[in-house]
Amino acid sequence: MAVELDVFVGNTTIMDEEVYQLWLDGYTVNDAVKVRMEGGVLDECEASADVLLSDTMDQYRTFQMCERLLHSPAKLANQLLFQIPPHRQTVLIERYYAFDDAFVREVLGKKLSKGTKKDLDDISAKTGVTLKSCRRQFDNFKRVFKVVEELKGPLVENIRQHFLLSDKLARDYAAIVFFTNNRFETGKRKLQYLTFQDFAFCAGQLINNWTVGAVDNMVEDMDVDLDKEFLQELKELKILITDKDLLDQHKSLVCTALRGKTKAFNEMEANFKNLSRGLVNIAAKLTNTKDVRDFFIDLVEKFIEPCRSDRWTAADMKLYLTHYTNSAHILDTFKHQVVWDRYMGVIKSCIFKMYHD
């Protein structure tokens, strides 16, 4: 005796959000049934495991049929096959495009190629996210990347319009696309302490201030590629460390301003030249693609780590960077104020975000 066929179809497609999550998480039907049983659904109403199995199967089938539509969410609204209330549609899309931070940390900045896809089983083993779920997330990244790649206009808006995502999620996707496009190195051991949200914040800063789009919002790839002219101009900042007078003047200005305001003053004073050199060198090297990739690792090595070993507090850091940036304006021989602000504004907020344990 066996149930050969068992379907349950509603005029309005009904979906259980809990089962949807299990499906997204890559659980097999049997595992999902187990999870649901442990969750105590059966206790709420008198039902047997068969009932649960049949329900889970039904839902899984529905999701599988919907998946094709979820690949282009705009279609979901005007397809005829499933009658889904709009708020449900929103939930379906949002959940489908949601991703695990643990997973995204692994692929952030990597090329979304077949090779990476082959390594997904390793990532799955490492992060504990099921392979199926990894594949979905990876494919989502790739799909968004491909669609947005060829579009004009602001990145976040494009993502939001094409995939009908919430603002938050669209921003995260923009960060992923940006990282992928510029191939930023995020996997090094020294960067392991950083979360996806740290990077996403930095990406937002970079997109808003350093890209072509920051000046002109109608070019292709405006939010994806860094502003080449700006990077070129950054070389001019070298004068801050090559000109000895300027460097000393800058140091004294900063030290005067900081004196007595922080416990770490001595370390600051001692390290000023090193730190300043580090930051300005990062700026000067950004014309090389290779150095752009190492942007974050450089920030950590050249600035964050020395400060951390000197036990600066976050407040110290804030104080130091504020005065460091502002003092440059007072330097009468320093002419590159605009570039300096554009550079330091981003650096400052990135370092604030990244300076934690």
């Binding site: 050969e4 066929l5 005029n11 089938r61 096959l81 808006e157 603002d167």
Partner: protein
């Protein structure tokens, strides 16, 4: 007279990729009607082509307009090879032929392919210009309205009910034609779909003609069925009730009646104008149309039929003194135009009636007959016959007549049964068949009743006006329960008591009917679904032997089902069944019986007695003990049920009335059928009481099993109610949150040596599990009610498959071409259950809150009901808030970006503002998909139907040769059902409608062969397309409402 059909192909979208090289499609469209075909230009390299074609005009007869569908084929242009078909759309233009219905068909239709399913959508505009036809001898019947609804449609008023109409057409099934061996499965499926579409068009036209002949303008309760008889052909038959309907203008009081069937809600139909029909309520109302257009005499039916039927009466009713029925005082012969047509079968397919229409109800009458389907030809010979039959019009003339004669026989039987019950009409009438190979069981059932002749066309009913009951009108809340037959000449023994409501007339102790509970009936407590399930094994046999075996089994099955129903009814402490539907389906080596009904406690009927168990050997002490425990369990269950269904009949002051009420301790005993076979199957239904109630022998293991099965029926979990009628008796506060579901289950039995008992248990468990799984799935909707639970059971057979298997072997050399002769079902046999039902979320004002401010209680409960939806709404509210916050942050952010981008700031803000609106319009308002509600009910609670747009009657075939890839049979059927829903919705939306009422899935035949990775499925659905608005709205905006607006305005948007 011709009409002009115009069609315009606007655009396509989401087309499949047909050219692998470019990942695009070169699509064009062929528009075909009758034998005329038009083509659009090819729209190169696009998946969303814009054709914007000219108007294609077809000048055709209106007869063709009724029969033929408009056929739209989307193709992919290929320069070198043949063009590939993407898919088709069949559009039934019938709704356009009715002046009151839709005026234009316009919208997106799914492009359907029988192999690939839905492949994109096409936007089409269709119009019809019809010239008035005054030809008396015309063959068309444009303008006759059809309704699947089995009550007078809301927003109409019945001026006259004319009576029963029936028709059937027969044809060769293309699937079994010789040519099928060499054509592709796609061509074969399409031929079949087209043929069935043509046949139903023809059938509808013919029925329409009959209605016009009778002087009516509409068919209500139109029920169309297919009999796939396999090699002996394809029968499409339909029955309905001819009426003259008047449209109720929107401002009339009818508006308040279209709402939820609250007990005090007045029915719009019939009512208001009645007083205006001057004169005393004579039983025969003057026929208003008789002078203008005398109903033509139908020569087909001999008048002698009448007398012969009364002969049958005599043989069927053993009682004397009742053999002649009082003739009407106005002799029919004196009228210039006798109407034998409608007088022949006083049947009504309606199941609910306006107040005052139903005078008395007698009980269920049913008739079954077993027939052998004659084989027309041997397909192996591929002779000239099948050759000829490729032209479907040249169907052999004798065939429909055979089928007609069969049904005629059964209807006569039903009629005589009704007479035996002292009734002159049969209401809630339906017909069905079950076919297994060459054996076919024809069944008909209905409820014998006496109708108020005021509403009838004269001659329609055969009644005596001298009948005292008409002079003594009974109160509406109990009148229909009063016995229609003479107390002294009862057709069957029953215990009669005086009505508990009015105390003036006699009522039976139980009442079984096939109709819905009359809205004015007084009910105590709540109703519930009651099912009797039965399996009977039979030996495999062929031909006549098989038919005999089946017909010998039938009476026993019917009797046992009846006994089960009776016992379950008593166990629930109820005394009446409504919406009784008994289905007996025949399989290769078993018969399945499934009876479903809604049990109620009618206040007018006496309280049911309990169930008493008695042992055979009173001396045995352990046995005695056993009996006592069982008796106790039964009593406990009864008490529990009494509480569950809130059955607290008012205490009666018996002495005061002094009527012969039976002593309350009186109990009826558990019935057991042991011997007594009767050759007259249908009589059994009526004669259960004749058999003296059996004292149950407890050492009979069968009996023990029976009791167990009685007690294993689990009541629905708290918060759930189920019934198979349109409304749930005892529940009056409905919300408009409705959901319709279809569920199909196939169950395979693994071992062949099963006993009747074992099978019964499996079958019962299956049904129970199904219900349980519904309850589980719908747990979030509590409190809710499963209404119109419609169960269908089938036993796909194994022998037939083997026969086809042999066919395979024989034509081995043709295997390549044979892809459409397929489906070898492996294994033994399986149950095939098909369910289509509706969930209506009901807000129950519990007893504790029913006092002051019950409205308030309702509202607050309403929130409970929709708590999942509500929480989502809060979510979206929060979302909205967060997007606002985001917007603010964005603003702030842009400002923070500093002077570098002063030029950009305003721009980006404007941009984000614009895109936000763009986004919201995209995800919410911008979709062009109309929400279409579907319901098997004839109404939508809380929603008013303002216009009927026409009947939806669609037939689809889906086939696959990649079953595994589509997720097995379940996946295949799941997507097919979803596709069928989508197509129905699209057609309704194109007509301008936003709901389908009286929706039903008539047929769902699935054949599979997992070994060959193939499956095929046929689905037939029907319903009435309507425009409806929320009770509160005045304007018919709903038809224009898209998903967004509906759902914004109502958080229950789920339908």
């Amino acid at each position: 007279m011709p009409g002009k059909l115009k069609a315009k192909i606007v655009a396509g979208r989401h087309l499949p990729v047909m050219d692998r090289a470019s990942d695009l499609t070169d699509a064009f469209v062929e528009v075909k009607f009758g034998n005329t075909t038009f083509k659009t230009d090819v729209c190169h390299k696009s998946l969303n082509p814009q054709w914007n074609s000219e108007w294609f005009k077809f000048e055709v007869d209106d007869e063709d307009l009724q029969d033929e569908p408009l056929q739209i084929t989307v193709l992919d242009h290929d320069t070198y090879s043949a063009n590939d078909a993407i898919g088709k759309v069949y559009i039934d233009i019938d709704p356009l032929l009715c002046t009151e219905a839709a005026s234009v068909i316009s919208g997106w239709f799914p492009i359907y392919d029988t192999i690939h399913g839905i492949r994109g959508e096409i936007n089409v505009l269709v119009k019809v210009e019809l010239f008035n036809d005054l030809n008396r001898f015309r063959q068309s019947s444009c303008g006759v309205k059809f309704f699947c609804t089995t009550s007078i449609p809301r927003c109409y008023r019945a001026a006259m009910v004319h009576g029963f109409v029936e028709e059937l057409v027969v044809n060769e099934d293309p699937e079994y034609q010789w040519i099928d061996r060499i054509r592709t499965p796609r061509a074969s499926n399409e031929a079949r779909q087209r043929l069935i579409s043509l046949m139903s068009g023809e059938l509808q036209r013919k029925i329409g003609l009959k209605v016009l002949e009778m002087g009516g303008n509409a068919v209500v309760g139109y029920l169309q069925c297919f009999d796939l008889e396999g090699e002996s052909g394809l029968v499409v038959r339909a029955i309905g009730t001819a009426c003259t309907l008047d449209k109720v203008s929107s401002g009339t009081p009818a508006s308040n009646a279209c709402n939820s069937p609250s007990k005090d809600g007045k029915e719009p139909v019939f009512g208001e104008d009645l007083p205006s029909s001057s004169g005393p309520p004579t039983p025969f109302r003057a026929l208003p149309t008789s002078s203008s257009s005398p109903p033509p005499f139908s020569p087909s039916k001999p008048c002698s039929r009448q007398s012969s039927s009364s002969d049958t009466d005599l043989s069927l009713t053993p009682k004397t003194g009742k053999n002649t029925w009082p003739r009407p005082p106005f002799p029919l012969s004196s009228l210039p135009t006798p109407t034998p047509h409608c007088g022949e079968f006083p049947f009504f397919t309606l199941t609910s009636f306006p107040p005052g229409f139903l005078v008395h109800v007698g009980g269920v009458v049913s008739a079954r007959s077993v027939k052998l389907l004659d084989r027309i030809h041997n397909p192996a010979l591929g002779n000239t016959r099948s050759y000829k039959l490729l032209d479907w019009n040249s169907v052999t003339a004798d065939e429909p007549e055979t089928r007609d004669a069969w049904w005629e026989e059964i209807r006569q039987e039903i009629k005589s049964h009704a007479k035996a019950l002292g009734c002159h009409a049969v209401v809630g009438y339906s017909e069905s068949t079950s076919i297994c190979e060459e054996v076919c069981i024809l069944s008909a059932s209905g409820t014998a009743a006496i109708l108020n002749p005021r509403y009838m066309r004269e001659g329609c009913l055969d009644i005596g006006s001298t009948d005292h009951r008409f002079e003594d009108p009974s109160p509406p809340s109990c009148g229909f329960c009063h016995i229609p037959y003479d107390e002294l000449n009862m057709p069957f023994p029953a215990q009669l008591t005086y009505c508990y409501h009015c105390r003036r007339q006699k009522v039976p102790d139980v009442l079984f009917t096939t109709i819905d509970l009359p809205s004015e009936a007084a009910v105590t407590g709540k109703g519930c679904l009651i099912q009797a399930r039965l399996c009977r094994l039979k030996k495999k046999a062929q031909g006549e032997v098989n038919a005999t075996a089946i017909s010998n089994l039938l009476p026993f099955m019917e009797y046992e089902l009846h006994t089960q129903l009776m016992n379950k009814l008593k166990l629930r402490n109820m005394n009446a069944l409504f919406g009784l539907h008994i289905q007996i389906s025949v399989g290769e080596n078993m018969l399945l019986g499934l009876a479903s009904a809604t049990g109620v406690y009618l206040t007018a009927l006496p309280a049911p007695g309990g169930i008493q168990i008695a042992g055979k050997t009173p001396g045995d002490l352990s046995n005695e003990h056993h009996i006592l425990t069982i008796q106790k369990r039964i009593n406990d269950t009864i008490a529990k049920n009494k509480e569950l269904y809130q059955i607290n009949p008012p205490e009666l002051t018996e002495e005061g009335l002094g009527s012969p009420i039976p002593e309350p301790r009186q109990r009826s005993r558990l019935f057991r059928s042991h011997s007594e076979s009767s050759d007259e199957l249908s009589e059994l239904d009526l004669s259960h009481g004749k058999k003296d109630a059996f004292v149950l022998e407890i050492d009979d293991t069968d009996a023990v099993e029976d009791i167990h099965s009685l007690l294993t029926d689990a009541p629905p979990p708290t918060g759930f109610y189920s019934c198979n009628t349109e409304i749930m008796p005892g529940i009056y506060n409905w919300t408009s949150g409705i959901q319709m579901f279809t569920s199909v289950r196939v169950f395979r039995l693994s071992n062949a040596n099963l006993t009747n008992q074992g099978l019964n248990k499996i079958f019962t468990d299956l049904c129970e599990n199904l219900l349980k799984s519904f309850y589980f799935k719908l747990r979030s909707m509590i409190p809710c009610c499963l209404c119109h639970l419609n169960f269908t059971v089938a036993v796909p057979e194994e022998e037939l498959i083997q026969v086809r298997h042999f066919g395979f072997a024989e034509f081995h050399s043709f295997v390549l071409f044979f892809s459409s002769v397929r489906f070898v079902l492996r294994g033994l046999f399986c149950f095939f259950l098909l369910f289509s039902f509706l969930v209506v979320v009901v807000v129950i004002a519990f007893v504790c809150v029913s006092g002051v401010g019950s409205v308030c209680a309702c509202v607050c409960l309403c929130v409970c009901v929709f708590s999942p939806a509500a929480s989502v709404d809060y979510g979206s509210f929060a979302d909205r808030c967060s997007t606002w916050l985001e917007l603010l942050r964005l603003k702030a952010h842009t400002i923070r970006r500093g002077s570098v981008k002063t030029s950009r700031r305003t721009q980006s803000l404007a941009h984000s503002g614009r895109s936000r609106s763009l986004r919201s319009s995209r995800s919410f308002g911008g979709s062009s998909v109309t929400v279409v509600k579907m319901t098997p009910l004839s109404f939508l609670p809380g929603i008013r139907i303002i216009k009927y747009l026409g009947i939806i009657n669609m037939f689809f075939i889906r086939e696959t040769t990649s079953l595994r890839e589509e997720g097995g049979v379940s996946g295949f059927l799941h997507s097919f059902i979803a596709e069928v829903f989508a197509m129905v919705r699209a057609h309704v939306a194109a007509l301008g409608g936003n709901a389908v009422v009286s929706y039903s899935m008539k047929e769902c035949v699935l054949m599979e062969n997992p070994n060959k990775n193939q499956a095929q499925c046929l689905i037939n659905v029907s319903g009435d397309a309507v425009i409806c608005v929320r009770e509160t709205d005045q304007e018919p905006t709903a038809s224009m409402t898209n998903i967004g607006q509906t759902c914004c305005s109502a958080n229950d948007g789920a339908t």
